[in-house]
């Protein structure tokens, strides 16, 4: 019978010559070694981010200006509040996980199941929030133009002393220009999808309003983006090559392309960890409901996935600091 073979499964403590130097079950030990190696992987990523940032220390995008959204609060500038909330959700789901482990030590099946369920819900909310963050990041808010040397110029209203989105000042042209696909004209010639607002329309809007100027990627001594005078802005914009809205892996409206690349890679890799953690938690949750661990007489498996889950939380604490705060 399945159940009797399961009940025979017993975790032996590694002998270690009788002195039990580690005194931990084999599975738990291996989970710890995996966590140590994964911690080194993540520190490699975060240190690479630090490298790129130190390399571009005078022109890195300012996180407070990038992540300003909060659900149901449209147009309100709310830097960091949402990520802080996400951090809290993840820490809280870590707490329910510890409570599940603690209930497992007391062999209390119902409490383990209850706390595992809360942990799964917390993890799912976090992954959903992450997806929402990505959506805002990819969609963009203000838009910008790229000039010949690859720099991003963001538009700024001198009168109102704040940034202005391109869709508030562009003058729409009556001429329609359709995307050149390879099914019209020469079969091997095609072009990338055209932006909704063309460079000509943005330039027409810019020339129409003398209060507009641009911000450079470069930071001044106080850590703010340098705002050019109107004359300097006109010279810079003479070499504009394209309109940039939102973010992808090649260019983004926030500034350095590496910023978006690292954002996608590190938060994506972390999000994948959370996602697989939720899947593992669901498997363990089902096993708890089926009574697998009750028959074994110990809830060690809950403890092992718990370790993984806390590790994901731990990584997020660092990602939060280095992407959003520092």
């Amino acid at each position: 019978m399945q159940a009797s073979s399961l009940s025979k499964t017993k975790e032996n403590t590694w002998g270690g010559g009788g002195s039990k130097p580690l005194d931990a079950a084999y599975g738990k030990l291996m989970m710890w070694f995996f966590i140590v190696s994964d911690a080194l992987t993540f520190s490699g990523f975060l240190v690479a981010y630090g490298f790129s940032r130190f390399k571009n220390i005078d022109s890195w995008p300012i996180a407070d200006e990038v992540f300003t959204h909060f659900p149901f609060l449209h147009g309100i500038d709310a830097p960091m509040y949402y990520v802080a909330l996400m951090t809290f959700i993840l820490i809280f789901s870590s707490v329910t996980m510890v409570l599940a482990v603690d209930a497992g030590h007391n062999n209390n099946k119902n409490r383990v199941a209850f706390y595992m369920l809360l942990t799964i819900i917390g993890g799912a909310v976090f992954v959903g929030s992450q997806a929402w963050e990505w959506k805002n990041f990819i969609k963009g808010e203000y838009g910008a133009v790229e000039i010949q040397n690859g720099d991003i110029l963001q538009f700024y209203n001198l009168e109102e002393e704040k940034r202005i989105p391109i869709d508030e000042f562009y003058i729409s042209s009556t001429q329609e220009r359709i995307t050149h696909d390879n099914n019209v004209g020469i079969w091997y010639l095609s072009e990338a999808k055209l932006p909704e607002i063309t460079l000509q329309e943005v330039m027409a809007g810019f020339n129409n309003d003398q209060n507009l100027t641009v911000r450079l990627e470069k930071l001044d001594d106080t850590g703010h983006k340098i705002i050019l005078s109107r004359d300097e802005a006109e010279i810079k914009l003479a070499s504009a090559t394209r309109v940039v809205k939102g973010a992808n892996l090649i260019r983004n409206e926030y500034g350095n392309p590496l910023f978006a690349d690292f954002f996608f890679f590190i938060t994506g890799f972390h999000g994948f960890h959370v996602f697989s953690g939720v899947i593992l938690n669901i498997i363990i949750f089902i096993n708890v409901l089926l009574g697998t661990y009750e028959k074994r007489g110990q809830y060690d498996m809950v403890e092992k996935v718990g370790l993984y889950w806390h590790f994901v939380d731990l990584v997020w604490v660092f990602v939060f600091t280095f992407f959003y705060l520092v």
């Binding site: 931990a24 710890w32 490699g44 240190v47 490298f51 820490i91 707490v95 850590g223 810079k236 070499s239």
Partner: protein
């Protein structure tokens, strides 16, 4: 399974809890307070903390130190390393304590060196119209 002994004191024994569950909630309160302070500092950005110390803003030093404190309590209390044997503690912590600062030092130093080279040395690096 062996009986589970929990060490119930945090802050070097200054704060003792009656049960493991109480300790977990206590640590949650502590971590929430630290996160709240971080967010408040990040939004207010007190001007006095924007001065540089060892090449990094004092505010950023505070953030990094607070992050390490949070990491300590997550590993020690949530991942219950506090209850493990010293050998297991060292197996986990020592490799990370050696390798991560090493990697950090090498790459951040190299990053600022490349910044200086691009800033002072190669004027032709920037193909601007000026």
């Amino acid at each position: 399974m062996a009986e589970h002994k929990h060490k119930l004191a945090i802050f070097r024994g200054r704060l003792k809890f009656k049960s493991n569950v109480q300790k977990i909630w206590g640590v949650l309160v502590f971590l929430s307070i630290v996160t709240a302070i971080e967010v408040a500092l990040g939004i207010i950005k007190p001007p006095i903390l924007l001065n540089y110390f060892l090449g990094i803003k004092i505010l950023n030093w505070i953030f990094i130190i607070m992050t390490i404190i949070k990491a300590y309590y997550i590993t020690w209390d949530f991942m219950h390393v506090r209850d493990e044997k010293p050998f297991l503690k060292n197996t986990i912590v020592v490799p990370l304590l050696i390798l991560i600062p090493f990697l950090l030092f090498i790459l951040l130093w190299e990053g600022s060196y490349i910044f200086e080279v691009m800033f002072d040395g190669l004027k032709a690096w920037n193909f601007d119209i000026y």
